[in-house]
């Protein structure tokens, strides 16, 4: 992504930066209310479709808005949405005179990407997928006709979604099933699409088990999972994060989803995950994380402060548990100069709290994340 020595792209980037500056100034008032230690963290500025340049494809505009409003959330859903939108971009793309597709298409894509990043910081998996796409574009035969090249790229995108996400999930579910036995009590935190698929599949296989869903404000994502599992007829308990110590005493296994895995084996996931993993390890309960290998990052991260994402602080003001908003004690916080709100979206679980990671290549200890990265690089 970084190595584009193209003058044009630099120009476009400076343009984008200028635009960012403008929108930053607009958000200045709310930035003041961010806790000092976290002022470096990215805040989703919210997509502004009217500010976006003409070059942005409508499909990208739509998902940008959906990302910003958390209408599409979860690493897998966002990655699939991005790739599908980029497929449309590629299909509607026409190479200008005097240049080739493999040279020009990346510069056409980069404003779309920065628009998406502006609407919500990109997830690690999305970054990996986009890097993969750019690599495919740059290694394409230069003599290939436009239509053929576009067709080939779309096929490559479809293959990526199939191999690294949808089929990978099915393989992970099949591995996970080996670790769920009759009589198990499984605890999970918030909502992960793979864990949900695994629990539903285990129930469909006739395994007798119970589920404890731990959830936390302000997103309350576990409610969606709860509804889904209860509809399927699985016996569930729903508890908030502060009760985790209490509910853990009956638990036999903890299954967690992942946003990303770092090279040092640390898990980057929904805020609160680290606490659940730590408590479970303390009680000698195995902590099992389900994660596709495309979410493995080459970065090393030691804490949740250096890199993280801030959500909208206003979410914390709303204390309603139903869809109609209800302001709590924090109402009017913007007018209190000494009051700062912090709504972190992710946290980092150190590798010592994780027993195993289930990936599409098998069950591995989380210290083997760099091994998988290395093996994939060789291919």
């Amino acid at each position: 992504m970084e190595n584009e020595g193209n003058k044009k792209s630099i120009k476009e980037r400076t343009k984008a930066k200028h635009k960012e500056k403008q929108s930053k100034e607009m958000n200045e008032s709310s930035n003041k209310q961010v806790a000092a230690l976290f002022s470096h963290l990215e805040i989703a500025k919210g997509a502004n479709a009217s500010l976006a340049s003409r070059d942005i494809h409508p499909a990208v505009l739509v998902i940008g808005l959906q990302f910003a409003d958390f209408k599409i959330c979860g690493a897998n859903a966002r990655c699939i949405a991005t790739l599908t939108a980029f497929k449309k971009v590629i299909q509607d793309y026409k190479t200008p005179e005097g240049t080739t597709l493999s040279r020009h298409l990346p510069t056409h894509l980069s404003p779309q990407i920065s628009y998406l990043v502006n609407s919500r910081p990109m997830s690690v998996g999305m970054g990996n997928a986009i890097r993969h796409l750019k690599l495919e574009i740059s290694t394409m035969d230069i003599d290939l006709a436009d239509d053929d090249a576009k067709l080939l790229l779309c096929e490559k995108i479809d293959n990526f979604i199939r191999d690294r996400i949808t089929v990978a999930d099915r393989v992970i579910v099949s591995y996970g099933l080996q670790k769920i036995q009759d009589g198990d009590v499984i605890l999970t935190y918030a909502r992960s699409s793979v864990v949900q698929a695994l629990l539903l599949e285990a129930h469909a296989k006739g395994i007798q088990f119970k589920v404890i869903i731990v959830d936390s404000r302000p997103r309350l994502e576990g409610k969606g999972l709860l509804r889904c599992l209860v509809d399927a007829g699985i016996s569930c308990t729903y508890a908030f994060l502060h009760a985790v110590g209490f509910v853990l005493k009956d638990v036999s296994k903890v299954f967690l989803g992942a946003h990303a895995f770092m090279s040092n084996g640390a898990l980057y996931s929904r805020v609160g995950t680290a606490m659940v993993a730590m408590m479970a390890k303390e009680k000698n309960i195995p902590v099992i994380v389900c994660c596709e290998t495309y979410k493995f990052a080459e970065k090393v991260q030691l804490d949740s402060f250096v890199m993280n994402e801030q959500g909208n602080p206003d979410e914390m003001v709303n204390i309603s548990t139903t869809s109609t908003p209800k302001a709590g004690l924090l109402d009017g916080w913007l007018h209190k100069p000494d009051l700062k709100l912090l709504n972190l979206l992710h946290d980092l679980t150190p590798s010592k709290y994780i027993t195993t990671v289930i990936t599409e290549v098998g069950m591995i200890p989380c210290t083997s994340v760099p091994v998988i990265l290395r093996e994939y690089k060789q291919v």
Binding site: K179, P286, T356, V361, M363, I364, T367, V371, I372
Partner: protein
């Protein structure tokens, strides 16, 4: 055991009448499944069988002539078997560096490769003492002690319950293993886990000495997640049927219960023969691939199976 599994699979190839590759693979898979289900403790056996099957899958891809492929597999299977002894010598040579002069070593039960390592160390003119756990119910520790004494190494047999008592005098613990699992944990004769826990508590290094053909693709989450675990192990007696028996026995019941409790065969059958030692208790694994940390095992397994 893993070597025996490979040998029997090679024998199968020799007599195989399969005409297509898929038929051939199917028969090999069937055979290894049969081997695994035929013994009570299939861990080390499945390591050998899986390794050979993986090898077959890999080579069969790049060979077009089926007969030549069979020939090639048979030969390499034989080589694998022949290498097994040489491998143990290599490990022993690597492991000697962990025994210092005037050291006291604690070993568990009997393991060929640990024996070889200690003999090799003695041959290097290193002076050391060995404590050997008796390792009930097999009492294989006695066999170990005899072999060591014959080699001129001072050895003392200790009770399995005396591990905590001697650990402060010990400089390092050496164990063999039936299998090494994916996270670098060990599956070994019962008692290894408690030995490792005691060693960790006393801050003593705990070394596993093992051949790389014993690496298995298993990932146990705890003791009860092993293929050897069955529900009748360490189960509480069925009280109702027992009460019924007692009432039939009548007055002399006390004596009868005593006899039943000490019925050795019954008591051994109800006890597990192996346990699982998690990787955090293991200092290093000394293998023919080199000296590995527990996480290095997963590295090797991924390289082999990905």
């Amino acid at each position: 055991m893993p070597i025996a599994a490979i040998e029997s699979l090679v024998e199968l190839i020799k007599h195989s009448k399969a005409t297509t590759l898929s038929e051939f693979m199917e028969s090999l898979k069937d055979a290894s499944q049969k081997l695994k289900s035929s013994v009570r403790n299939s861990i080390s056996l499945s390591a050998g069988a899986d390794l050979f099957l993986r090898f077959v899958t890999r080579t069969s891809h790049d060979v077009t002539n089926f007969e030549a492929c069979k020939e090639h597999l048979m030969n390499s299977g034989k080589v694998l078997v022949e290498k097994a002894v040489a491998v143990r010598h290599k490990i022993a040579e690597l492991g000697v560096q962990f025994i210092k002069d005037d050291a006291t070593i604690l070993i568990h039960s009997y393991s060929r490769v640990v024996m070889l390592l200690l003999q090799q160390a003695a041959a290097h003119k290193i002076r050391f003492n060995v404590y050997v756990t008796e390792s009930r119910p097999t009492s294989l520790g006695i066999k170990s002690a005899k072999i060591l004494c014959k080699a001129g190494i001072p050895a003392t047999i200790i009770l399995d319950t005396a591990v905590g008592y001697v650990i402060d005098k010990v400089d390092a613990v050496f164990v063999g293993a039936e299998g090494v699992v994916e996270n670098g944990g060990l599956i070994n004769a019962i008692g290894t886990y408690q030995l490792a826990v005691v060693a960790k508590a006393a801050n003593k290094p705990f070394y596993a000495v093992i051949e790389s053909y014993k690496f298995v693709r298993l990932f146990p989450l705890n003791q009860y997640d092993l293929p050897t675990h069955t529900s009748d192990l360490l189960a509480f007696p069925d009280l109702e049927s027992r009460c019924y028996q007692e009432s039939q026995i009548g007055e002399n019941s006390e004596q009868n219960i005593k006899e039943e409790d000490y019925d050795v065969e019954n008591f051994v059958a109800r006890n597990p023969t192996v346990d699982y030692t998690p990787p955090e208790y293991i200092t290093l694994l000394c293998t023919d691939l080199g000296v590995l940390t527990p996480s290095g095992v997963s590295d090797e397994l991924i390289k082999l199976y990905l």
